[in-house]
């Protein structure tokens, strides 16, 4: 299941061919190197474009969001192993 985090994070990005892609982020005093951006999508909150990146770090899955109006990054959520229903 996804666990909401919604915390500001520092993110390192690379620019290539007009696209931006996160490569690492700092969270809980640790640098997390991103292995893969599995999906990108965009939404809006009011007029602010929000750029969402689903990423993997080792075995973990996160969603990072860049607010195009505030020019800030947040860690939205992470996937935690949930108990399977019986």
């Amino acid at each position: 299941m996804y666990k909401e985090v919604d915390k500001p994070v520092k993110v390192g990005v690379k620019f290539s061919s007009g696209e931006v892609e996160p490569v690492w982020f700092f969270w809980r005093e640790r640098k997390h190197e991103i292995d893969e951006v599995t999906l990108y999508h965009r939404s809006f909150r009011g007029e602010a474009p929000l750029h969402h990146f689903s990423v993997t770090v080792g075995d973990d899955v996160f969603q990072l969001t860049f607010d195009g109006k505030k020019l800030s990054w947040r860690l939205d959520k992470l996937w935690v192993k949930g108990r399977r229903p019986r």
Partner: protein, 406 residues
């Protein structure tokens, strides 16, 4: 040149998008739901969940009974809306003749594009490659190729997931022998029962049935039904132009099964009116003409417009006018889509300020509501009269036309 139509259908759509975003969900039986509670309804099931008999529209309680290890993933409408828009964008790069059919299906007339390819199969393979490059290899589609929309739609269902089926003219008689009446898009169980009462049990029997008798039972639709029985469909692939006109603002919604009655569709109209009003206000525009568009159970679209004699940008007023149009237009017994389009637009600041204090108050109220919703998210403040449509905003299964991002 004879026509070639593709029907492209994304496989297990919402579930595939979630599996693409999250590798932990790949290979797992998952369902996308509105809320991850036992009372929720399955919006989409992954192919792994489908193997257990889990289907869309099933309650999650029933789904878990069929598949005890099932994982419930809360839906993310923004994500699906983005992917849908990209999906249509990729298809449009091959032909402007794109007709979206729900959030995850579309018809594409590729007649003019075929000369660049050795065969339609090569073209479809390239489209599939483009989609994989855009989204990743977990989001796949099944494609039907045929001379018309009816047969293309039928073909896309024949090889799932990630399949491709080409029904050539010579294959049509054999295909029609093998399918049942309800396999044809536009024949539901109710129409099937009416056909059965006429003694028609199979598709070839429908094709052979006297047109006059079909017309006596179904009116003008009788001729269309006979053609369906012969695998014919003269309808064109129609781009959703009423949504794309620069000089108009419109919103439409394909209704989920449980909303397909006139009574239940009315709150949806209210919601659409609010949305059109908001979009007009955001652009500083007012509309002089409004159009109501409805699609019936047989997927026929009709519309009527009204010029009320004053310019509007207030959702409640737009709703009242839409209801007025509805009275004149009539409403189908089984509405499958409703839409409102505002046109004859002009800048609001070209009008004089309202003199009546009530109107000025109303404008202020709308402005404050818009500000709150922009700051704290869509739907934070809304009119209580929207009651009955709140489950549609935001909803996993909401139908949105491409470009309708705001």
């Amino acid at each position: 040149m004879s026509r070639t139509v593709l029907h492209i259908d994304m496989d297990s759509y919402f579930a595939s998008v979630e599996q693409q975003a999250n590798p932990k969900l790949r290979g797992e039986p998952i369902v996308v739901t509105g809320k991850p509670t036992i009372k929720s309804v399955v919006a989409a099931a992954s192919k792994e969940a489908k193997e257990y008999g889990v289907e869309s529209a099933m309650s999650t309680w029933e789904a878990r009974k069929k598949c005890p290890g099932l994982m419930l993933v809360p839906g993310d409408p923004d994500k699906y809306e983005w992917v849908t828009n990209k999906f249509f964008e990729v298809l449009r790069s091959y032909s402007p003749r794109l007709e979206p059919f729900g959030v995850d299906e579309a018809y594409l007339d590729v007649t003019g594009k075929l000369e660049e390819f050795e065969s339609p199969i090569e073209l479809v393979e390239e489209i599939k490659g483009d989609l994989a490059e855009e989204f990743g290899d977990r989001i796949t589609c099944s494609v039907g190729i045929a001379r018309n929309k009816l047969m293309a739609k039928l073909a896309s269902d024949m090889d799932k997931p990630d399949g491709m089926t080409w029904i050539g003219d010579e294959d049509i008689p054999e295909v029609l022998e093998e399918i049942s009446l309800t396999d044809l898009c536009g024949i539901g169980s109710r129409t099937e029962r009416r056909l059965n009462r006429l003694g028609i049990e199979s598709v070839p029997e429908l094709g052979d049935f006297p047109e006059k008798e079909l017309k006596e039972e179904f009116g003008v639709d009788g001729a269309r039904l006979k053609m369906m029985g012969q695998g014919k469909d003269p309808s064109r692939v129609l781009p959703a132009s009423y949504e794309e006109e620069v000089k108009s603002v419109g919103n439409s919604l394909s209704l989920p099964e449980y909303k397909r009655t006139p009574r239940k569709a009315i709150p949806v109209l209210f919601k659409l009116a609010q949305k059109v009003g908001y979009r007009l206000r955001k652009r500083g525009l007012v509309a002089g003409t409004l159009k109501l568009i409805v699609r019936d159970g047989e997927f026929e679209v009709k519309g009527k417009q009204l010029t009320p004699g004053r310019y509007v940008d207030d959702g409640n007023l737009i709703y009242s006018i839409a209801l007025e149009i509805k009275e004149e237009l009539g409403f189908p017994a089984t509405p499958t889509m409703v839409g409102i389009r505002a046109s004859k637009l002009r800048p609001k600041d070209s009008l004089s300020r309202p003199l009546l204090p009530d109107r000025r108050k109303r404008e202020k109220l709308l402005r404050v509501m818009d500000e709150v919703n922009e700051e704290y998210g869509k739907g934070t403040l809304y009119f209580a009269a929207r009651s009955g449509s709140e489950d549609l905003l935001p909803s996993v299964g909401e139908f949105k036309r491409p470009g309708d991002l705001n």
